[in-house]
Subunit: 246 residues, 2 copies
Amino acid sequence: MSWRKEQGRAERGYHHGNLKEALLQAALGLIAEKGAAGFTFADAARMAGVSAAAPYRHFRDRDELLSSIAQRGFEQFEARLTAAWDDGRPDTVTAFERVGRAYLAFAREEPAFYNAMFESGLPVDTNAALQAASERAFNVIRAAAERLAALAPPGTPRPPAMMMALHIWSMAHGVASLFSRGDAARRKLPMSPDELLEAEVLIYLRGLGFPTDRRPQAKSAEPPPVPPEASSGSGVPPGGPWGKPK
Amino acid sequence: MSWRKEQGRAERGYHHGNLKEALLQAALGLIAEKGAAGFTFADAARMAGVSAAAPYRHFRDRDELLSSIAQRGFEQFEARLTAAWDDGRPDTVTAFERVGRAYLAFAREEPAFYNAMFESGLPVDTNAALQAASERAFNVIRAAAERLAALAPPGTPRPPAMMMALHIWSMAHGVASLFSRGDAARRKLPMSPDELLEAEVLIYLRGLGFPTDRRPQAKSAEPPPVPPEASSGSGVPPGGPWGKPK
DNA sequence: CAGCTCATGTGAACGACCTTTACATGAGCC
DNA sequence: GGCTCATGTAAAGGTCGTTCACATGAGCTG
């Protein structure tokens, strides 16, 4: 019966003591359950054990609470993408795909954040802090794309990193929002969203001329600063980037 | 002022005569303006010139109206994709890309439908008719992918058509929902959403081994469709694609 | 410790919305 | 003309978002 301060604290008197945080947590839970559209300010207040008017002491209105959550979400998102990128180790392509998986994992594991960030319909450009946070997150993908672009096989024109980053973002967002979350996940698929995205990214990278046939696991040998990625230009994995067609 | 039957018809008495359709049209307009979340049943009724209770004679509740719109949207969507595919003329790859552009065009030109279909958060699987309509639309992409897969260059493993279709769908949806509509469109891009998607699809197809250099377009040789904009690294808008830090 | 102040929470109230219910209207049909 | 039933209305209950006047008490000041 999560109710009031939850932490088993003293029953609390007139003042809550940590209402702002409690509201954010409550909202996060509610959004995860019912989506940003279904979440109500009043519910969050109730869940925190305060009156419906109390939240207005901490947020100008419902949208500001949503923005706060979105912003916090972008920050965690950035952190997870950064960790996944791991500065391009052990090799750029592997790390790049790991970023893609981290994107999906975030969408799956933090549906409330993802919803507030990308599906709540709140205007990104009206809140400077929010916009900055979202840019920082995107910059992780962008920086990774930059590194990848620099490795473009000789002979082929170097792809614009910005374009690559946008492509990867759109793939990840597309898969996440169509197949990887909530009701959408109920669509019947021949493969998991993770596999779907991985194959998509691999095919895409191959289309840019990157060799994508490195072995995923048995590759513990630390590659040199410039990994053997710029080797053969047409390494087609046996069976393709996708698994076995079922 | 648009009010009551609009068409300048006689002032109408007790009965509207065509309320169901009027409500659908009104809702379509409202959703286009304010999104599915912002649209209200009461507003639609007002716009049709009837009381707030009248709509309940034609729709069980607000969600059913939304579902009706989504379904109608899927039908139009299917029609447009089918027309764009044009049974693979003049050649499969060209027609395939045209389907991609048709996807974006629909998202851009019919924001209300697109919103109801993909962004309203209504559960797809609770309405059999809706689900069937959405499947029929997807099947256009799927059939096109099937034809494309059959053309896979000899020597390379044939990609599963279903997977290709899902990949294309995710790309199109990703680009549409991130860059091509409403507030999202305000994000600054180095290229138009259409160009972005076209490049993405072409690179992807190339990754599958399809020749994508048909169409003598002042192209050097056979390299990937790297658009002239956003030349490498530095052609990047200040502030990234999320918009300008302001 | 007395007293003051101000951030924080309360209750009541307003208008908008969704939805239901009992009742009104009138178009189509005998 | 009169009946019936689909269609529309008014009224009411419940929920929300939001505001406002007022209450409370934590922390400082002396």
